[in-house]
Symmetry: C2
Subunit: 356 residues, 2 copies
């Protein structure tokens, strides 16, 4: 009798322990490491990464812990894709177009000249097939990619002299990297690249005549408005989207509800950054304009804009002629833009026109 | 010896059970009931409520379960605030301005004529003090209020005849409710209210000459485009925001991490609805225009717009002269708009101007 009771008691203990272990497994802590392209103070970009990690931890009740290494730590700001692909980091926060040298197909997911605005681009990602095309491109790198925060329309750059005609662009020395730089080069601009820390001095000493950075929220700390009075409106990055990436193996090992928390935190941090930067731009511009009332906002004259558009189209034709996947992505964006821009015109554009 | 062993075993079982109970308490399921103003098929409004509930359940691993009763069930579409305040429902999804009859201060959190656009309004909510002012207004109703999804710019309505001068508005019979209706009435419009189900027939049989509904995404199912060729652009609701509300007592009883999940799910569902509706509007407009190519998009001529703006300002002065809190909210919106619109002009507006 006592033996039987003892056996029963032991069975209960065994079952109890098993249940405890199961519950414990459900509450297992997952520690991920994320590398960012940004330094620790580069608002609002680093904020999007930090906010995402904070949300993931809060929403998971501490089960998801994401440690962030900024560029100051890992020293490889533009190597995020490689590090996440290779497994040195589980996740990354960067911008897709930084890897166009390794894989040109990653280019269109950040922003394209004369392309989609932020709400249009989010609509394309989430309802127009954009997100699926992005996974298709990133699949060969064994990572998933998600929108990670929009800067909104970036400004076209600071110029020390006004640009009135196409002739004014001939030989003009300008810092403007990437695809936009290639377009400018076709218009006769002498495109140069200079490290960010040296840009102010280069502009001040006339080593360069113009430069493109981001927009008021990030330009203000660089001080360009103190020495270049012409601030041109944007054409080249109407909705630059940052990206979160995650190693596919790491993602697949997470329990379903932690995957959901991660994906939701990334989507929310992305939208939040768009709104944060909208506010930061408004405040920074107000401050710049107050301190330097002589700054003038200019749009490039139509002949220049037309020449840029022509160069843009030529470049896209060259890029896509031997690349069916890139063509598929750009065609999808173009078709979506054709449809959505009519609505943007009827709604936001015509509303703003009467209420500036 | 055996007794001591038995005692130890029993102690282990007791401790084990206590741990199980504690873990169980941490995993307690919270069931909330939410009432919506919308019927079960009213996309995208009902989608925002459903998406929020789905996210809250997924992210909490089933700990938060929100049952949604649509208006078809509770039969009180415009009584959501009362029901949540009174505790019949824990939560609600509706739009703040539906309660302006009970508390005029709730009006400005949805949209104001000639006011903020969607990104501007989100920036005001989250970075310009808007959310805090909203809680201040809702505190007397013992509920918390959160943004619940933006329609973006709503259209100004369907007209059977073109409106060329202020005289064309004299005696015009139009269905346009709320604050916008009061403005139109000051311009000589005969403002009427008609149940949604009878609107099409009223317009077809000339009982009314014009009506305002929402925008292509929601207008398309009503069929107005088949009988009224003039579609006027919006001025009265540039960014109508829906709202989630929750009874303060219910909210305070939730564990901290479930509060976080709820707040994150609401914020995310709100942004998602804005983007979903952007896409839906683009698709619906494309369809309307294809089937009825004679529809013409029109903006009200400047003298009419100016008269509307004047009436709007007069109404605001009347409303706020004995209401310090409403004045505080509207002054905050106005000051934020003054700052942010300069940036919107430099960024979105000037970009779109060259890329329509």
């Amino acid at each position: 009798m006592k033996r039987i009771m003892m056996k029963t008691v032991l069975k209960i203990i065994f079952v109890g322990c098993c249940m405890l272990l199961t519950l414990h497994a459900n509450e297992k802590v997952y520690k991920l490491k994320m590398a960012t392209t940004w330094g620790p103070t580069l608002s609002p970009l680093i904020d999007a990464a930090n906010n995402m990690a904070k949300m993931a931890e809060e929403l998971s009740n501490g089960q998801l812990q994401i440690r962030i290494d900024t560029a100051n730590k890992h020293k490889s700001p533009l190597g995020i894709l490689d590090m996440v692909k290779g497994g040195q980091y589980d996740m990354g926060h960067s911008a897709s177009y930084y890897w166009k040298g390794k894989d040109i197909n990653t280019l269109p997911f950040t922003s394209m000249p004369f392309g989609l605005t932020s709400p249009e681009q989010y609509a394309w990602f989430y309802h127009g097939g954009g997100l699926e095309l992005m996974q298709k491109v990133y699949n060969k790198h064994h990572v998933y990619s998600f929108p990670g925060g929009s800067t909104g329309v970036q400004m076209g750059g600071w110029f020390r002299k006004e640009i009135k005609t196409l002739t004014d662009l001939q030989g003009l020395k300008m810092r403007i990297p990437g695809f936009a730089g290639e377009i400018m080069a076709r218009l006769g601009v002498q495109v140069t690249n200079i490290a960010p820390g040296e840009l102010y001095t280069a502009l001040e000493t006339n080593s360069i005549d113009a430069l493109e950075w981001v927009g008021p929220s990030m330009d203000i700390t660089m001080g360009f408005h103190k020495i270049a009075p012409f601030y041109y409106t944007g054409w080249h990055e109407p909705a630059s989207e940052m990206h979160f990436i995650i190693n596919q193996k790491v993602y697949k090992k997470l329990p379903k509800h932690l995957q959901d928390i991660l994906v939701a935190s990334m989507r929310l941090a992305a939208y939040d950054m768009y709104i944060q930067n909208y506010d930061m731009n408004a405040s920074a511009w107000e401050m710049m304009k107050k301190e330097y009332p002589n700054i003038m906002v200019k749009t490039f004259p139509k002949p220049i804009m037309d020449a840029m558009k022509k160069a843009n189209e030529e470049l896209i034709i060259e890029m896509t002629q031997d690349n069916a996947l890139l063509k598929e992505v750009l065609d999808s964006q173009k078709a979506y833009q054709k449809k959505v821009r009519v609505w943007t015109q009827m709604s936001d554009y015509l509303y703003l026109k009467d209420n500036l």
